[in-house]
């Protein structure tokens, strides 16, 4: 029978080419991961585990323990003295605790704005912005510091201006910020329905702009009248706290935005649009819908940003100028004490920094667990439905 004869080689060929494992497929197979563990020989499993544990031990656990051991080697009294009776060290701790929160707030505002723009709008240059957000990750911190020295330093582009009468720009800068905030608030608090807009809320754009200009002029005049800003003094940015803040903010720039963009993209704009169609204004939509949806990502981003900001060395090193008691942050102080062969002092400050890092780590782990629970609670329904019926 020709048909069967021609069929047979075919059939045997297919059977032969199949790996034996796939023939057993129909039998209830254990989950893939479990199967893999069982298949790997013991020496691979143990070998890998030992290598990883050894590396973690040598690179992470021993140094951390060593920091505390060295700091406390001469006793708790000396440790305390090293930390709190050295005015320069104390100042460095306080300076770090000043610089970091300011940089954090700046990055929080920027991060939310950037994530919103990237996740919610499509505009020319959106991809470019996404890439630029990451730039501080790829640029060496030292280069970043040098850039700011070039811009704000004595010989820098803005140097002569800042030197001659640097503070003269401050009234304008602050008035501009104040007016911008006012305009944003006006837009946010305006009643939803036209019928309810009475008095101030009915002003047209030209009137509003004229009002803004008037407020601007008033603010400038008030600041000048009371001489809030010193005259004939140069405004110091480099080798001063503003420079430290700018450098720290630059280096930790991407953390919040990078955490938020995926969260906001996954949540989608539908809930926000639903809120708007139900009559919420921008302000209420943001606080009642957007913020609750992104709060875990936001908290996570802030924690990472905080950890990086506290430990920042390179960029800060360049712009600080190492003036003890003035521009030394904790990492710079550690390095300086180390160079002065003051090992106990150096390790004491290092232990504080490490402790802060450990606190951050615990917070992060806690958040992650909470976040996972949170996601587990909502995801199967919401995200599942979206996946199944996605466009």
């Amino acid at each position: 029978m020709p048909p069967e004869a021609s069929l047979k080689p075919d059939a045997s060929f297919t059977t032969a080419s199949l790996p034996p494992a796939s023939l057993k497929e129909p039998s209830p197979a254990p989950p893939a991961r479990q199967a893999r563990i069982q298949q790997d020989p013991a020496w691979i499993r143990w070998g890998l585990t030992v290598i990883v544990l050894a590396v973690v031990g040598v690179l992470i656990v021993i140094p951390v323990v060593h920091v505390f051991a060295q700091a406390l080697a001469a006793g708790v009294g000396v440790y305390w003295n090293n930390l709190f009776n050295d005015p320069d060290t104390l100042h460095s701790i306080l300076l770090t605790l000043t610089v970091v929160p300011v940089a954090l707030v700046a990055n929080l505002l920027f991060g939310v704005a950037a994530a919103w723009a990237i996740a919610r709008f499509s505009f020319p240059g959106r991809t470019l912005l996404t890439t630029l957000v990451d730039l501080p990750f790829s640029v060496s911190p030292v280069v970043a510091g040098l850039i700011f020295v070039l811009i704000f330093g004595r010989q820098g582009y803005l140097g002569p201006f800042l030197r001659s009468d640097g503070y003269s720009i401050m009234p304008y800068l602050f008035s501009f910020l104040g007016v911008a905030l006012l305009l944003v608030a006006y837009q946010l608090f305006r009643p939803i329905n036209r019928a309810e807009r009475r008095g101030v809320w009915n002003y047209s754009w030209p009137v509003r702009l004229a009002g803004a200009a008037a407020v601007f002029a008033l603010l400038v005049l008030v600041q000048q009248y009371f001489e809030i800003w010193p005259r004939n003094e140069s405004l110091r940015i480099i080798f001063a706290t503003p420079g430290l803040i700018i450098a720290t903010a630059f280096v930790t720039f991407p953390f919040v935005a990078r955490e938020l963009i995926p969260v906001m993209e996954a949540t989608g704009a539908d809930e926000e649009l639903a809120a708007v169609s139900l009559g919420a204004n921008g302000w209420k939509m943001f606080w009642r819908i957007t913020v609750p949806n992104i709060k875990w990502g936001l908290a996570y981003g802030i924690i990472l940003c905080n950890a990086r900001a506290m430990g920042e060395f390179g960029a800060v090193y360049v712009v600080s100028g190492h003036i003890a008691g003035q521009t030394d942050t904790m990492p710079l102080r550690i390095e300086k004490l180390f160079q002065e062969y003051n090992l106990p002092g150096s390790f004491a400050v290092a232990s504080v920094l490490t402790l802060l890092a450990l606190v951050t780590l615990v917070l992060k782990a806690g958040l992650e667990r909470h976040g996972i629970k949170k996601v587990d609670g909502t995801a199967p329904g919401e995200l599942g439905a979206r996946e199944r019926h996605g466009h």
Partner: protein, 361 residues
Amino acid sequence: MGIEVRGMKKAFGSFTALNDVSFTVNDGELVALLGPSGCGKTTLLRIIAGLETGDAGAVLFDGADASQRSARDRRVGFVFQHYALFRHMSVFENVAFGLRVRPRADRLPDAEIDRKVHELLELVQLDYLGSRYPSQLSGGQRQRVALARALAVEPRVLLLDEPFGALDAKVRQELRRWLRRLHGEIHLTSVFVTHDQEEALELASRVVVMNKGVIEQQGTPDQVVEHPATPFVLHFLGNVNIFHGRVQEGKALLGPLAVEFPDHQDREPRTAAGYARPHELDVSRTGQHGGGLWASVQDIRTSGAIAKLELSEGEGSLIQVDLGREQFERLRPVVGERLYITPRRLRVFMSDAETAASPIR
């Protein structure tokens, strides 16, 4: 409230989502926007709601231009395709949201909001679930919460984007019936988007069929089913057999079929096609009526009330015929036998200029 859309245009980059769309919805009507995915129906719905802005054209509510009004000023109830419930709020708070975000001046007292939300949850038969979170609800329940939330702000129009798209067949049936009853009770002007023709025909008082950003036809379900204006509508509203051919001197010659076609009296022939639904074809063993064609039976499927026959004309094109149970019992066709097919009704469309005629024999 009546809605009027005038000359609406919308493009996303080089893709034209809407091309000069105009239609009206009368007060209290339930209208379906029906079309395949990507035909612009959802874009149109979002433009009506103010969630999207058109490139040209206007949306009028009761004759007043609403194009410049923002979504929150339009008082439109919008039910999203995936419901977009606020996942961090309970069902109760979801429904109450629209009442709570009103400006202080005309916000209801809390007790009043409470009462109203309970009333709405009762309306959608979910009062017992008020404290649950959206993730703990089934698809059908979520859909009803979304509806209650949209109704809470006492909208003048209700817009639903694929309201039953994400539900399984049985729940869909129930919700459909329920929504029709609800519309009968509250008489709120409603527009819903769907790609499911059955849903549109069953639910809507009027159907707007869209394709590639333009409206192909609008009318009552009967009108679009019985008198489709274009081949697309004919295709979209069910299976159809196509007979290719040409029209010339008032006659349509479609292979072996020939029918009167008074719309084209020229001597110049033009290509055309005749369309007949499977249930509009008769089959018999004798060719006594004439005007039909012979075809051999390829496949017979008998399930439910109708028997589906697949016949081949010889040139490879398959012809589908639906027979009623009784007719099938009388004829008892077998695979391989040759039967004579006569169309009871044939709609002829010329292919370049889409003029229609439906001679009935």
